[in-house]
């Protein structure tokens, strides 16, 4: 895995790339500290800051395009964070700039969208503050040049998602969901932290450059451990299988939050970590293999869950989980997969954000009704949302020539080369995706109207539909642009290296065709069940499989029985033990002393003759002692 050297002291826009983080951070600070006074223009400041960051990102991107391949990894020295251990700096290279573009681009669009979405919310200022905070933290995560910087961004993003999921704090369900998200993320961070410690103890540094240079030389066991720990962190953040329970609850937050954080950017942080630490994963092949397994497992689990959810946002969340499964699978395939993973990530960022915002505008229209069984026939009423949502739908199921087709097909293709079993599982996943996405599409926009009596949906205002249009344009052309001619792969080569032989795009391969066939079959089934047939208002009692899916594959139940209940039980015991045993011991000691002194007091009974008796005993003992000493 040969990458270009990191060039110190970058100038120009890249030199000023720390502005990308500073601007939104400044925005968040002003909005949070400003308080009531900033209510009026708060949201505009938020959008301005996000757009500012986007401009800096584009300028850096343009400056980078000007440089030739070998000079595209520029480092910006910031300040000495922890003397002797961590020098905080930024690494602007093709990988991080593509992420930065995605984050700031989609982020700004979502900022604009939420002006409309949150227009009636009294705490709008606080919402935009948190959004800015999130953008800043995410940019720090992707731009940092060392693992500690990444870790700070990592937890900062976790905090932002906690604040945003629990934005409507008065709703207890939102508060619990926020707490759950943060704690599950924290479990992931626990793994990442220990991974970073191991990197520090093995390599003596946490900066990417030095570590990746000597990554190969460390012994296999340690590298595998580091790989697995980083994977645990990635799973926590990207809601992969062991730690996926929080993603579906995170839908409690406002829709723009779900779009930005739980679809486009934050959940991809795990993929970024795996791709960025490519050098380590390549050196530890077992860890890499585990990544692919986790990817495929989550891919299937997400798909199955997606099929059973009636809540439109939860269905989309399920699909996000499975799409990230694809990205993890690609990231685990080594250099050949990185480009596809990032490509799929970017295109997914566009069409998933597009669909979430679409769902948001549908909810906005149906005054916050989320149950798809209460939708139906919205196509006629909300033309723009329906069309943009449709484009997103076509892109995600991999409809030929749309962006999903190129990226997902690329992943399946490269998976086939590495390990056919994974490949075919990925193909099955694509089929199921076809089914549940079509189900969502048909239940929402086609079929008979199942609206609630007081619902009279109308098209959302322009400020919400414009971002939808832009995102849908992106989700149409972006895939082709990135994949054809391996443009993204060559662009990312200096950052993540490239495979020996470039995998050209050949549509008519066996896996490609079977995927299309399966997708078509899935769509047909969905049309039969939900498009044409009468959709019951109340969810029918499904078979074992549907209840299994409805209960998120019992993920939550498993967590509760394995961790939460024993945890509460352990806490009660610990509190009891602390009060009784440790405290009891101390108080017991005190009571003991009190008791004995109480009894000793009774000896003083006031009778002179008792005292005389003890004197005589004393005398006798003295004489005895003298005798004893005498005879020694």
């Amino acid at each position: 895995m040969e990458t270009a050297e990191i060039i110190q002291g970058a100038g120009g826009a890249i030199g000023a790339s720390w502005l990308m983080i500073a601007l939104p951070l400044l925005g968040a600070a002003i909005l949070l500290l400003g308080g009531r006074r900033t209510n009026g223009w708060g949201h505009l400041l938020g959008v301005a800051m996000s757009l500012g960051a986007f401009v800096v990102a584009v300028l850096s991107f343009v400056q980078m395009l000007g440089l030739d391949d070998s000079r595209r990894r520029q480092a910006v020295e910031l300040f000495d964070f922890i003397p002797g251990m961590v020098k905080m700096g930024l690494l602007i290279d093709p990988l991080s700039i593509s992420f930065a573009l995605l984050i700031t681009g989609v982020g700004s669009l979502i900022h604009i969208y939420s002006i409309g979405y949150m227009s009636h919310d009294p705490d709008r200022r606080r919402f935009f503050a948190y959004l800015n905070l999130f953008v800043a933290a995410m940019l720090l995560l992707v731009l940092a040049d060392n693992y500690v910087g990444l870790y700070i961004g990592w937890e900062g993003v976790g905090l932002a998602s906690y604040l945003l999921i629990g934005f409507w704090q008065h709703k207890p369900s939102a508060a619990t969901a926020a707490k759950k998200a943060f704690i599950v993320n924290r479990v992931g961070d626990f793994g990442l932290a220990i991974g970073i410690f191991t990197i520090w103890t093995t390599f003596g540094s946490v900066a990417y450059g030095p570590v990746f240079e000597v990554a190969g030389e460390a012994d296999q066991g340690v590298l595998t451990a580091i790989g697995l720990l980083l994977l645990l962190g990635a799973c926590g953040k990207s809601a992969q299988l062991p730690l996926q329970s929080w993603l579906l609850d995170a839908m409690e937050g406002p829709t723009p939050v779900s779009a930005l954080i739980h679809a486009a950017t934050m959940v991809t942080a795990g993929v970024y970590l795996v791709v960025r630490s490519g050098a380590i994963f390549e050196a530890a092949s077992t860890a890499q293999f585990v990544v692919t397994i986790v990817g495929v497992a989550t891919l299937l689990a997400g798909a199955i869950i997606g099929c059973a959810k009636d809540d439109i946002k939860k269905a989309l969340a399920g699909s996000t989980m499975s799409q990230i499964g694809y990205m993890m699978l690609a990231a685990g395939l080594g250099p050949v997969g990185y480009a596809f993973a990032i490509a799929h990530l970017i295109t997914h960022g566009f069409f998933k954000a597009n669909m979430f915002l679409g769902a948001g505008s549908v909810m906005h229209a149906m005054n916050d009704e989320v149950d798809m069984r209460k939708y139906g026939g919205l196509f006629s009423v909300m033309k723009v949302t329906a069309i943009t949502f449709g484009i997103g739908y076509l892109a995600i199921i991999g409809f030929p020539l749309l962006s999903g087709y190129f990226t997902k097909d690329g992943i399946i293709e490269s998976a086939m080369h590495v390990n056919p079993v994974l490949g075919w599982l990925a193909v099955a996943g694509a089929g199921i995706t076809g089914f549940y996405m079509s189900r969502v599409m048909f239940m929402t926009f086609f079929g008979k109207r199942r609206w609630a009596p007081d619902a009279h949906p109308h098209e959302s205002p322009a400020v919400m539909t414009i971002p939808l249009v832009i995102l849908s344009i992106g989700s149409v052309f972006l895939g082709a642009y990135l994949i054809l001619g391996n443009r993204l792969m060559l662009f990312l080569a200096p950052a993540v290296g490239r495979p020996a032989d470039l995998p050209g795009f050949h549509p008519f391969s066996a896996p490609g065709l079977t995927t299309l066939a399966l997708v078509a079959v899935g769509a047909a089934i969905a049309w039969a069940k939900y498009g044409r047939a009468e959709v019951p208002q109340v969810a029918p009692r499904g078979s074992f499989l549907t209840t299994f899916a409805r209960r998120d594959l019992y993920g939550d139940a498993l967590n509760e029985s394995l961790f939460m209940r024993p945890g509460q039980w352990l806490t009660r015991i610990a509190v009891f033990f602390d009060n009784r045993a440790v405290d009891g011991l101390v108080n017991g000691l005190a009571a003991g002393i009190g008791g004995t002194s109480g009894r000793m007091r009774r000896l003083q009974n006031g009778f002179v003759r008792s005292y005389a008796l003890s004197i005589l005993f004393g005398a006798a003992m003295v004489v005895g002692a003298l005798l004893y000493v005498g005879t020694l």
Binding site: E5, I7, F81, I82, G84
Partner: protein, 510 residues
């Protein structure tokens, strides 16, 4: 310019001055106390500015006056990096506490006069500065014990319902430790027979391992009780829960730090071999303390007790850092002492505000404070986040350094301790959710938000926490040389990475 003697004398004079004020002049007493504590803060800053981290001699601003010549006891004061930072902590905390407990003392429950509370506060500050500045072991011991008295009275006559029980328990616990230490101090003096109690001379004076172990135990148990390590911790929740918020801040924020400071300064340097011998035991105790403290904290219903248990967990981290004996761990532990002072101080003060408004300690009596008093809930959240060591806040830097330092030598304790990070998230967020989120409880409806005084109390603390979170370098530059000197005396094998990566990336800058 005898900085340290002035720093000790000014609060004492202030305390006497406040005590001598006429009976009714409560307001004047508070203002005078605030003024004196601000003067002390100013002096500390002036001293800190002149402190040169890189200087070769061990203790700067050192002064030694003969106190009891026959025993070789000196009034020896001097400051190195570690002591300076802790003195600065107390100098910063005291004015904030004075401001915060403006109305604490004149609440109906308090029998004693307001004047007495504030003069005790200043007396306590004098002793805090003294204990950290003492370079004479005997003087350190005197301050170590003298500190208990003002704190005892502050808890005893101004605290909550079972204040006398808590105060007596606190006093007896610390006295028990103190007496053990007294025996060790005397034995140290006699065995070393250098004819002096001055710390620099006593370093490495005890060579025979057996006596080292006994003396180490004498010192260590006293410090383990003071900074509550696991088995000796039950006095802290009671004392902290019953003490008025201001006193609780000083108790947990500074008084308990004397224990960990003592371990770092006296246990490690005077008895290096014994410290190494006992390190596994201490690591086990601290790791148990971390996990146990966190779990019991989750189960608490009383707000202040919960915060007290969290600080037991944090003390586990500090003790682990001290006894991991690596440069990173020790400087992380020292930084942790400072950060913990700010973050738990902020938590206690905010809990104090909540209790002052609502009147009940129990968490379930609250709910939905965020709707009614957003600023209060916001500061509570930030303080809580600093409690669970969120990166970007100061406690993360120290916790990260402690963990990575411990990981360098002892992998398993570090991993178990890192699980404390997850538990921390649980107890803080669960408490925050029960207090601030959800529908507003009817009793909480009328709760008013922070007034300007309270803002003046909390904002500096949170500003410090955020500032140190983003840019801890100035403090670390002061601590690191002092820690290196300390560890040099402990002669510990330096940490070497397995595959040393070249620190500076090669690429030539433009």
């Amino acid at each position: 310019m005898p900085w340290l003697s002035i720093l000790i004398a000014v609060p004492v004079l202030g305390s006497v001055g406040v005590a001598l004020l006429p009976k009714g002049a409560d307001k004047l007493a508070k203002q005078l106390t605030l003024a004196v504590s601000l003067i002390v803060l100013g002096l500390t800053i002036a001293m800190a500015v002149q402190f040169s981290p890189g200087s070769t001699d061990r203790f700067q601003f050192a002064e030694t006056y003969r106190w009891i010549p026959s025993f070789g006891v000196h009034f020896g004061v001097g400051v190195d990096g570690i002591a300076l930072v802790l003195i600065a902590l107390s100098a910063v905390l005291v004015p904030i506490v004075v401001l915060a407990s403006w109305h604490d003392a004149d609440a109906p429950t308090a029998k004693r006069s307001v004047k007495a509370y504030f003069s005790l506060l200043l007396l306590l500050e004098a002793m805090m500065v003294g204990v950290f500045a003492a370079t004479d072991v005997f003087l350190f011991y005197v301050f170590f014990e003298a500190m208990l008295i003002p704190m005892y009275f502050m808890i005893g006559s101004y605290g909550g319902a079972q204040r006398s029980y808590a105060a007596v328990k606190f006093l007896l616990y610390s006295l028990f430790g103190g007496l053990l230490m007294l025996v060790a101090v005397i034995a140290l003096y006699v065995i070393a027979d250098k004819g002096t109690f001055m710390f620099p001379e006593l370093i490495g004076a005890i060579t025979d391992p057996a006596t080292q172990k006994w003396l180490f135990l004498g010192f260590f148990i006293a410090f383990a009780i003071k900074a509550p390590l696991w088995p000796f911790h039950t006095w802290l929740p009671d004392a902290a829960a019953q003490a008025p918020a201001g006193a609780a801040v000083l108790l947990v924020g500074v008084l308990d730090k004397v224990g960990t400071y003592g371990m770092l300064r006296f246990c490690l340097e005077l008895f290096p071999d014994a410290s190494k011998f006992f390190t596994p035991l201490v690591l086990v105790l601290s790791v148990v303390g971390i996990v146990y403290g966190a779990i019991v904290a989750i189960g608490q219903t009383d707000m202040k007790r919960l915060i007290a248990y969290t600080s037991i967990s944090h003390f586990g981290f500090i003790a682990m850092g001290v006894f991991a004996m690596t440069a990173n761990a020790a400087s992380g532990a020292t930084l942790y002492m400072v950060n913990h002072g700010f973050s738990t101080g902020a938590l206690f003060l905010i809990a104090g505000f909540l209790i002052y408004r609502r009147g009940s300690h129990h968490i379930q009596d609250y709910g939905g404070v965020q709707k009614v008093a957003p600023v209060l809930a916001g500061t509570f959240l930030v303080a809580g986040l600093s409690g669970l060591a969120l990166p970007g806040l100061s406690t993360f830097v120290s916790e990260f350094m402690v963990l990575i330092g411990t990981y360098e030598r002892y992998v398993v304790p570090a991993i178990i301790a890192t699980s404390g990070v997850v538990l921390a998230a649980i107890y803080i967020l669960w408490m925050y959710q029960r207090v601030a989120n959800g529908p507003t409880a009817e009793k909480v409806q009328g709760m008013r938000d922070l007034d300007s005084r309270e803002k003046w109390v909390i904002v500096p603390l949170l500003a410090l926490i955020v500032a140190l979170g983003f840019f801890p370098k100035p403090i670390l530059d002061v601590i690191n040389p002092a820690v290196d000197k300390t560890l040099a005396n402990v002669s510990v094998t330096e940490f070497k990475p397995a595959v040393p990566a070249v620190a500076e990336p090669k690429g030539a800058g433009e």
